[in-house]
Symmetry: C2
């Protein structure tokens, strides 16, 4: 088996090295065929010594970076002043083909700006987008059409672009459809726009304009608007929105998943009878809680760059960062099947006359 190489920005995120290094350590044990290139400024050294992991794993290489990008750095300032940061170095390692992909839990705006600078966007794409697969109610047949079986939906953008133009939304639709076509082998993925109603007059003028572009100018299978209470119902392969709405949708649903889990625990402690019932049913409840835990969905593709980049949630703990590493490794291990430039070629076809 050929060796895969990934670069890890160890200084990003709210918890920084303290969650990232142990996650890398765990992943290095788990994936013996992956080489982990870890980039961090001097602040990571005490932590490296503490868990003394680099010494003990043959497949971890530590690289020294000059500085860190902070969560409150502006994208412009990070790009201008922090070119020797761990974030910049992992992106450069991808650009120079020293690694197959990279991951960061750092400042999203800076990651997007640096990603565009060091890797560039696909031809015809204005901005990259954060995208992830979300779970749906069932491996059910898509209810609307003749159609294939849907086991997940791709949601994008999730926060790379707080504001989007109608054209950018349409480009994201092509981007999501390309991922779905290449990765899941869907010949004609269905696409919908997230909106606050299904009627054509609903939402902002930007979203109405995007709907028109997708309807009239794209070769995509565009099925109209979808409301946020339907995003987990498996009604579309790709659901498109601006980064503000997507981030809100994703995080609000994570918050709700935690609330219902909390409520179940609460109900299970309420009196002797409930405690006994909960004890009896605990294997079932544990299995279910694992299946809905938002932790395992950490990690999103930064899609549309000429290189593979995964963004972890900034507040990720060790377990969550491990899942994001897993997502990156799964992605780069499929490069043999669909190389990055194959994605770009397919994107050019999907985009049709959206840009005209």
């Amino acid at each position: 088996m050929s060796v895969l190489r990934i670069a890890v920005d160890a200084s990003g995120g709210d918890r920084g090295v303290r969650s990232i290094l142990p996650a890398v350590d765990r992943a290095a044990r788990h994936y013996a065929n992956v080489e982990f290139h870890v980039y961090g400024d001097t602040s990571i050294e005490p932590e490296i010594e503490r868990c003394s992991f680099a010494q003990s794993r043959h497949n971890i290489v530590v690289h020294r970076a000059g500085v860190s990008v902070e969560m409150d750095d502006s994208p412009v300032s990070a790009l201008r002043h922090k070119r020797d940061s761990s974030m910049a170095l992992v992106l450069k390692a991808v650009a120079d083909q020293q690694v197959d992909g990279c991951i960061s839990a750092g400042n999203t705006g800076a990651l997007v700006a640096m990603g565009m600078h060091f890797l560039s966007c696909y031809e015809g794409l204005e901005r990259p987008a954060l995208c992830k697969a979300i779970p749906v109610v069932d491996a059910q047949v898509n209810r609307y059409k003749d159609s294939h079986i849907l086991t997940q939906s791709y949601l994008l953008d999730l926060g790379a672009n707080a504001n989007c133009s109608a054209k950018q939304l349409a480009q994201f639709a092509a981007l999501g459809a390309t991922l779905c076509a290449v990765k899941d082998n869907q010949s004609q993925p269905s696409v919908r726009l997230l909106n606050i109603g299904r009627e054509s007059l609903k939402g902002s003028s930007v979203i109405q304009q995007a709907s028109l572009i997708l309807d009239e100018k794209s070769a995509l299978r565009y099925d109209g608007f979808i409301e946020a209470d339907q995003i987990f119902q498996g009604l579309a392969d790709v659901i498109v929105c601006d980064g503000f709405s997507g981030n809100i949708a994703l995080k609000a649903s994570e918050g709700m998943a935690r609330l219902v889990s909390h409520r179940l625990k609460q109900a299970a402690c309420d009196g002797v009878i409930n405690r006994s019932l909960a004890w009896l049913a605990s294997p079932l409840i544990k299995q279910w809680q694992k299946s809905i835990s938002p932790d395992q969905y950490n990690g999103a593709y930064l899609l549309g760059l000429k290189g593979t980049v995964v963004k972890s949630h900034g507040a990720a703990d060790q377990q969550q960062f491990f899942y994001a590493l897993k997502l990156l490794i799964d992605q780069v291990s499929q490069h043999a099947k669909y190389p990055v430039n194959e994605m770009e070629t397919r994107f050019q076809q999907a985009i049709g006359s959206i840009n005209n």
Copy 2:
């Protein structure tokens, strides 16, 4: 006990009379001291005959409206051409003080436009906002400050205004704080703005501007940004956002609540052991499912109008519409404690120099 009077728009919503009339029938049995004035066009008559409810209940009065506002009518056209619609008539009934409050499941844009026309907004408020109480993880002490105990948070706007200016967001903060102060007797409710990050540079320029206004010009207790995964954590009494984001946050979390419930059912059917465990724990699971069901949270206040208006989800079924009726009845039954004009007076104080 004095008689309360409410007006019901029976023609609004996706399911129209078929869910609304049975819900009214049920509510009329339940609330003998409430007079239900039901407004509908001719299309409601077969349904009235079918359930023959008006005859059997002394506290239901049916009124004939000329037309219905359709879900795809534009607000302007509804306001111009449908002044004898059931939606217009329920609002007029509030304006003329024939009833204490009204409810509609119809077109939100039209309801807002007609509400502003027939009832007017509070002095100093540009637009009304949809607001509702959302559940939080616990009756816990607010973690951030000295502070009071939080059992719910108010989220607004939920879809009355797809786009908002910074000033409008600040006005909504004052509106939510007023509701919280008057209804829950909070002397200094905490207010936060929903954003895609907590750092000051995050989000759109509108939201940054709103943050500045709240910080510098308002007398409200403003505690900064909150992310969507925290909205159920009880970190603020009032959470403010534009109607697009609020609608997405609320509906995405409803979708997630349904997904996790579905997943639990699925896990409970998976093999003989799980089926037995689920059977044993079914009282616990039912109790929990009832506590998290989004159905019971149907209904939002259309806040900031000189009259009490509740909006039901357009797709509400009978059970859900019943909960929205309950919300309206609870609200109007508290008018003795805090009349509508008391709300407006308090709002004027809360708004401080936001508008300057």
